[in-house]
Amino acid sequence: MSASTVIFYILAAVILGGGLLAVTARKIFRAAVFLLFSLIGIAGLYFYLNYEFLGAVQIVVYVGGIVVLIIFSIFLTAESGSDMKKPALAKVIFSGLSAAFGCALTLWLIKGQTFLPTLDPAVAPSIKNIGLQMLSTTQHGYILPFEVVSILLLSAMIGCIVIAIKVKK
């Protein structure tokens, strides 16, 4: 077993263990911290696959942005120290069964599938290539989605302010 394989299994354990604890922890603040571990594990998986830019984006946006936002909203709304209500036993059983059956079906389909890689030469996933293709206006350029997503972020920002603003009565 090579070191690379060991690192992969450690990353897998961090991702899945963190995710599992994030959806089952009884204290909401702990669930947020376990989610943080899972997201950091996913960033590690991107680094493991040599996609450094994506790993950096994952850490900056998810770990530095979304999880901090979630923790702030926990402090603003929920009682972070107290336990949450236990879900009903029937709900746990049926949700677990449906998730397990879906997981088994998907894994069975993956197992029967043969994946054929392309024969074309590889393109280096460097930041230079990503930037050039993202802002290119020629065919296969991503300038239009880039502009659309910037409009989306602006409208989401305005929408958040409008929704969360306190109306004086």
Binding site: V23, L35, L45, L54, A99, L152, C160
Partner: protein, 104 residues
């Protein structure tokens, strides 16, 4: 033990997706449901990256899709948290069962 390939990563993303589904079905607290949705979106991102890495390494499209999903997930989380804070002001609770004004 053989080399880490596409199937290993697909197994991880499948397991993470259904962990997210389980959390979404069992949780009744809106913030924890949002966390489950983040897990589901991340498993989709892992799939895009894995297919780009192992099958279509001559293109960068999987990475672009991942970047755009991350951007949209950030916008979605911000809007969802604004809605949750507004709901907390009106109902003093973030339990989905308590917000039943529009229930028929």
């Amino acid at each position: 033990m053989n080399e880490i390939g596409l199937t290993h990563i697909l197994v991880i993303s499948t397991a993470l997706f259904f962990i997210g589904v389980y959390g979404f079905l069992t949780r009744r607290n809106m913030i924890t449901m949002l966390m489950a949705i983040e897990l589901i979106l991340n498993s989709v991102n892992i799939n895009f990256v894995a297919f780009n890495k192992f099958l279509y390494f001559d293109k960068l499209d999987g990475q672009f899709f991942t970047i755009f999903i991350i951007a949209i997930a950030a916008a979605e989380a911000a809007v969802a948290i604004a809605i949750i804070i507004n709901l907390y002001r009106n109902y003093k609770s973030i339990d989905v069962e308590d917000a039943d004004l529009m229930k028929f």
